[in-house]
Amino acid sequence: MIIFDKVCKTFPLGNSALNDVSFTINDNEFVFLVGPSGAGKTSIIRMIIRDLAPTSGSIMIDDLEITKNNFNRIEILRRKIGIVFQDFKILPEKNIFENIALGLQIGGLSMKNIKKEVKEALELVNLSHKEKLFPVQLSAGELQRVAIARAVCGDRQIIIADEPTGNLDMKTTWEIIKIFKKIEGKRTVIIATHNADIVNSLKKRVLVLKAGRLVKDTQKGDYEL
């Protein structure tokens, strides 16, 4: 469960990124985070992974209050979360298997278990036959699928995707969304996006941000640009 309680973020120069934002995301919920550029979507994502601290308010992830000044369990928090970036963040000198295994190695899993987990993740994203290839040999859509496989691999209960389809064409975008649909109900999924077509067709919970404020929170919601 993710709880934002009156979270504000003001940067040192005085510009405000978030203003009094409160919401709760339950376990295994599927949520879209939408809004124009600068609305605060990325700030929320960065706060969930504790890459950015709020100026005021509190954030709870499961039983961890991550906004405490003396919070020192960032690694434990981040091992609960799988992140999919718009620019994929796939390491070019590692092959697909090694890229996906990264998160599992950090968790200290045995090689036997790593192989098993990676195999399952590759099956989920339909890339089983490409585990030995290098990123340069894959298309953008395939790279994003690798990133999703890395995010869902292991025991990561919260999957956050920041504009996961921002660099992809429509056909590939839908392939990516289908993968997220496959994990729906098994993990908490938060997708930050501009893409109104995706949001409106899936009819999931939508949190709409505007100028750092949460202006709409609807179940089976839609989004207008």
Binding site: D51, E75, R78, R79, I83, K89, L91, L102, G103, I106
Partner: protein, 297 residues
Amino acid sequence: MKDIIISIRRAPYQSLATFSNLFFTLFLSLIILFSLTFIYGLLGYIESRPQVTVYFKADTAESAIFKMRDDLIASGKVSSAKYISKTDAFKIYKDLNKDNPLLLEMVSADILPPSLEIYAVQPSYLPQIAEFLKNKPGVDEVNFQRAIIERLINLTNIIRKSTLVFFAFLTFNAIITLLTIGHFKIALKKDEIELLRYLGASQWYIKKPFIGEAVFFALASTGLIYLIFLGIIFYLQPFISSYMNGVSGLGIDFRIFQLTVWPLNLAYLAGLYIITVLFGIVISVVATLFATQKYIK
């Protein structure tokens, strides 16, 4: 090991720079360490020779000499004092001149003076001991190696101090250079580090491969240095042996154990190797820790 080799292949020039810097620093450190231990061994050897020899007039009673010896030992400045009687002196004389019958015929025990061979607790006590003996009745002559010992002590002090300064500079320079090279190497892995942090890697997990590489470079450079060092030492051994002719052995007393420096032995050479390896690992790892810490922050 596989990761270290991949990392070296990915940044060959930085790796070469790291290796060269460590090689230069550790080679100089090994030479300094070897020279210092040898000089200290030599100082110990000279200090172990009779430091003050006092010759008495031939008619001086043995009881007076023994009293003087006891007074000296009671002063706390003398570690030992050995009495050489006329007969003992004659035996030594005969032994030294056994190949020269003419000299042996000319001398008898009667004309040789009795003497005391005195060893000071500290070399700095030597002038006081000599001064004390000069004014005593029955004393004919006082010889002590003041000039040699004082010069050696001064030289050792100068060498020790200048070596410490040079060594500190060398260490500082090595760490700064390794740190700078480390920054370059870490910058090459910027994306990987950023990703690892997002995936929940601990600081130690991120630092571990860099530290492994630092230890590898320290071990590799020390191994090569030591092979070269052994080559030089064994090449020079005949020259050193001829120079050290007559010196049975040099050692350094570390209170808990005695280290023999000369003749060269396995324990001494192993000690030099271990110290150099440890020093290499310490500077290499410290520089890496600074570089990674600064970057991760």
